[in-house]
């Protein structure tokens, strides 16, 4: 009886998450596009719903809500469904949509997408070999095998995003890094851009006129295409078409220049807006936060290095350590069990909410930057895949932040994975990502003012 009540609670919350994912998809991601394939929207919302249910079950674990056996059952079921989606459905659909976009292979969509999926499975399996993630006594198609591989990919993604975010956040918040941009700089650059456009236009006018006279005289200008075309153009050439190809090359170079100037001008406008923003109250607040985050970032890099160098994996979680410190060193006595439960609930809750929100914002930005009307379906499915793997590995890593008594459920459900490996791997990739982001941002920052001052 209690099992039925528990299940209905979980299923209601799943439906709520599904609705939220659906709305997010329609309002944020697909703002400028038309949804033609509803399968994509359904898959995205389902992935989101089941990932959020996993987090919800962790919270229930900490708070002690619901019956323990029904929690365990829902964990197992949730995990199976998520793995099914991430390994079977989404890759298959990605292959299917990629093939549908290519006109030539339109007829044999299904068999080719099956072939693509099999290739994906092969590489996915091979991924597990170089890593010591499992004890060898498990069978071949068990949950542990699949989860371990999904975990590797997800943890890599998390560490990359986390490393880049940790460095980028203070860089964007702090106004110390803002270059000084005046209105005259922008006007000068705009004038150069318009002058370049004028030169391009005058060359195109010559080309258009030349083409018109050639057309009226009955000649035809053939662009050299293919191997034989190029050979022919080397040996025989009409004088008119020679001229045209020369001018065309000049125009190509000028167009490249105009693109560069456009991007630089957009960059200058963006910097100017940021300078104005930093003078407002909100801007000053973020500037202050930026200093705070830069200290945090340096500390995290330092800790990651120490962990790797001294081969140390923390045994206790921050909550228990915090309580130990307050009890032993500060001598404050309080009900440890009660407080540890509430504090870990708050801490884990904050981690979950910020990571979901951060991921959704990053995915949206990424989607706006690279999608077009043709590829929007494929990109959304890729994002759903990334989101699913990210959330699964968050569950793996969050285990470290929880006191021992709450870790048991995750250990039980996910089986005997080498959790320590994942933490080590996270530290390594985080370090690599953070250091290369620092290098990358340093180079970009140095290069920009030089380009901008060049005559």
């Amino acid at each position: 009886m209690s099992f039925l009540i528990d299940s209905s609670i979980v299923i209601t919350s799943q439906i709520l998450f599904f609705g939220f994912g659906w709305l997010f998809f329609m309002r944020q991601l697909f703002k400028d596009y038309e949804v033609r394939q509803y399968a994509v929207q359904v898959i995205f919302s389902v992935t989101f719903a089941f990932s959020c249910t996993m987090f919800e079950l962790i919270i229930f674990e900490i708070l002690g809500v619901l019956n323990s056996s029904s929690r365990y059952f829902h964990w197992k079921m949730n995990l199976c469904v998520i793995l099914l989606i991430l390994i079977f459905m989404v890759p298959f659909y990605i292959g299917y949509f990629v093939v549908s976009n290519i006109r030539l292979l339109h007829k044999q969509r299904l068999p080719i997408s099956c072939l693509l999926w099999l290739t994906f499975m092969y590489f996915f399996w091979k991924l597990g070999d170089p890593f010591p993630i499992l004890s060898p006594k498990h069978g071949i198609l068990s949950i542990e095998q699949l989860i371990s591989r999904v975990g590797v990919i997800g943890v890599t993604l998390m560490a990359l995003l986390s490393g880049f975010g940790a460095v980028n956040c203070p860089y964007t918040y702090m106004s110390y890094f803002l270059r000084n941009v005046t209105d005259t700089d922008i006007l000068a650059l705009e004038r150069r851009l318009l002058q370049t456009m004028d030169v391009i236009i005058s060359k195109k006018k010559r080309m258009a006129m030349a083409r018109r006279t050639m057309f009226q005289r009955g000649e035809v200008h053939n662009k050299p295409s293919g191997f034989w075309g190029i050979l022919k153009s080397v040996t025989t050439s009409a004088p008119g078409s020679e001229n045209l190809t020369l001018i065309q090359q000049e125009v190509d170079a000028l167009e490249e220049l105009s693109r560069q100037l456009f991007l630089e001008t957009a960059d200058l406008y963006a910097t100017k807006e940021r300078i104005e923003y930093s003078k407002t109250f909100k801007g000053k607040y973020f500037n202050f936060l930026g200093y705070f985050f830069s200290i945090y970032c340096v500390w995290k890099i330092f800790m990651a290095t120490i962990n790797i160098v001294f081969d140390r994996v923390g045994k206790t979680d921050p909550v228990t350590r915090g309580i130990e410190i307050t009890v032993n060193y500060l001598g404050i006595q309080f009900d440890v069990k009660f407080w540890s439960q509430h504090i870990s609930f708050i801490l884990v809750g904050i981690i979950i909410v910020t990571s979901i929100r951060g991921l959704l914002i990053t995915l949206t930005k990424f989607f706006y930057a690279i999608s077009s009307s043709k590829s929007s379906n494929v990109i959304v499915l890729l994002l759903a895949q990334i989101m699913g793997m990210y959330f699964v590995s968050s569950v793996l890593l969050i285990r470290m932040s929880m006191p021992l008594e709450y870790r048991t459920i995750i250990t039980e459900v996910l089986g005997e994975l080498q959790f320590n490996f994942y933490h080590r791997w996270f530290d390594v990739i985080f370090l690599v990502s953070a250091l290369s982001s620092i290098l990358f941002l340093y180079l970009a920052h140095k290069q920009a003012p030089e380009k901008h001052m060049a005559p």
Binding site: K204, K205, E255, F262, Y269, S373
Partner: protein
């Protein structure tokens, strides 16, 4: 050769609707083989005979400025794009017949481009939303072109074409629906080619032969003075 008069026409629309293919087709009478992202603005020139076949025939250069980007871009990109909207004589609005959102976004595109000139003549509509009355008074010649006609299935064609007819009416403009990968839609003598020719003629007329709506009609030398005065006003 460069001494012919010129007019400037903007080609606006969402990314991926086919503006670059359209401009290439209009200017070079060839299908664009490898369309790619337009960063910034790409220009092409078409040589047009104004009032072709009549004694007043004159050749003009029509500059087609194909501005890339999306209507929801960051404001820094919009400010950069605004530099291309100076002294525009006509606008071609391009939308994708298979994507309703691109048709809806045309209102926002036209607001973005026209607001530059409307500042000179009337009070700006402050909330930036589409206001039908502004278009009724609008002096700038507009043309609405729908692309990817070949991808619309026969059964849906009627519904789509009705929708686009309403759209063109809202803008008080002519409309053309075609497929940019097929040059026969713009073949000489077809109704589409006639509409385009008429549009370009209208643009040239507005620029060189008429000053504004309260012009004294029938003044014989207005052409010459109108031309030079016009260039002082806009440039």
């Amino acid at each position: 050769m460069a001494s012919l008069d010129r007019v400037k026409v903007l080609v606006l629309g969402d990314s991926g609707v086919g503006k670059s293919s359209l401009v290439h087709l209009l200017c070079q009478n060839q299908v664009l083989g490898n369309p790619s992202w337009t960063v910034g603005c790409s220009v092409d020139v078409r040589v047009h005979d104004y009032k072709e076949g009549t004694p007043e025939e004159k050749t003009y250069y029509i500059e087609l400025w194909d501005v890339g980007g999306s209507v929801g871009s960051a404001s820094s990109v919009k400010s950069t794009r605004a530099v291309f909207y100076n002294s525009v004589n006509g606008i071609i609005l391009v939308h994708d017949l298979t994507n309703k959102k691109s048709s809806q976004n045309l209102y926002r595109w036209s607001m973005e481009a026209l607001n530059r000139d409307l500042v000179l003549t009337r009070v700006l509509v402050t909330n930036g939303d589409y206001d039908r009355e502004q278009f009724a008074d609008n002096q700038m010649p507009l043309l609405v072109i729908g692309t990817k006609l070949d991808q619309i299935h026969e059964t849906k064609r009627h519904e789509v074409l009705t929708r686009t007819a309403f759209l063109a009416e809202d803008f008080n403009a002519e409309e053309i629906n075609l497929d940019c990968t097929n040059p026969r839609y713009l073949a000489a003598g077809s109704s589409n080619a006639v509409k385009i020719s008429r549009f370009f003629d209208k643009v040239i007329e507005k620029r060189y032969f008429l000053r504004d709506s309260n012009q004294i009609p029938g003044f014989p030398d207005r052409k010459r003075f109108g031309g030079t005065l016009k260039s002082l006003h806009y440039d």
